[in-house]
């Protein structure tokens, strides 16, 4: 089961909820630094799109539930480690007000084998989408009017997460 070798960073460093932006290059460098056993690195980056359901998005505000957010993500990462042989993991999720094109979420996974890195990364994203307490509020321009609204959860996300169980 989960092979936590000596190069595995501690769980506390695996998760960061932050308002600040992050550097993809720095995060990947940290995943790779001194880690010469894992040949595969898979990253996922989620960014603010300029449209959603046909509306023009101007800004996105992310709210979360401090404490539960970290706990739920730690649990998801642990589940991934139980399923796949992965090395290092990093999850960053930004909160607060974000603009079009901004990075929202980063998931990085290293492994000896690419299949494990791909699967664990997608699993973490799929579970994050339905289990981690984040909520998005969009400011959109609809029929010439600016309006704010909370995003609705997608059934497709629930369905996708269930495929892993």
């Amino acid at each position: 089961m989960g092979n936590q070798d000596s190069s595995t960073s501690s769980q506390s460093a695996e998760i960061s909820i932050q308002t600040a932006d992050y550097s993809l290059a720095d995060e990947v460098a940290l995943l790779e630094q001194g880690n010469l056993t894992d040949g595969a690195v898979v990253t996922f980056t989620g960014r603010v799109r300029n449209n959603n359901n046909g509306n023009t998005v101007t800004t996105l505000t992310l709210e979360h539930y401090p404490g539960m957010t970290e706990k739920s993500l730690a649990k998801i990462i642990l589940q991934a480690r139980e399923r796949w042989n992965i090395g290092r993991v990093k999850v960053i999720h930004r909160v607060g007000e974000l603009n079009i094109g901004d990075q929202i979420v980063f998931v990085g996974v290293t492994s000896k084998h690419r299949q494990d890195a791909f699967a664990a990364n997608e699993f973490i994203m799929d579970y994050l989408k339905v289990k981690a307490p984040f909520w998005k509020k969009e400011r959109i321009i609809s029929e010439g009017q600016s309006a704010e609204s909370w995003l609705d959860a997608k059934d497709s996300d629930t369905d996708k997460a269930e495929l892993w169980s």
Partner: protein, 82 residues
């Protein structure tokens, strides 16, 4: 006492982020929902929404989950992060 917190659309609909509830007669999440529904028609409507999610001490739970004094209980809409 039980600490109760609300998030996102729910917090806005109730105009309430955090409150305390006496723990007498409250055995589980469903009991809290019933009790809070008495507040007003608005609250009743919110808590009759089947998609509402709940957590106890930062773990997602269902309506049957027990609640005891000192617990932190959270109610929120389906999550939309990522």
């Amino acid at each position: 006492m039980i600490k109760i917190v609300f998030f996102a659309a729910l917090r806005e609909q109730l105009d309430c982020a955090e409150m305390s509830l006496a723990s007498e007669g409250v055995k589980n999440i469903n009991d809290i929902k019933l009790k809070l529904s008495d507040n007003s028609e608005q609250w009743q409507q919110v808590f009759s929404n089947a998609s509402l999610l709940s957590a106890v001490n930062h773990d997602m739970v269902d309506g049957e989950h027990p609640v005891k004094p000192g617990d932190e209980v959270a109610f929120f809409p389906p999550v939309t992060g990522g």
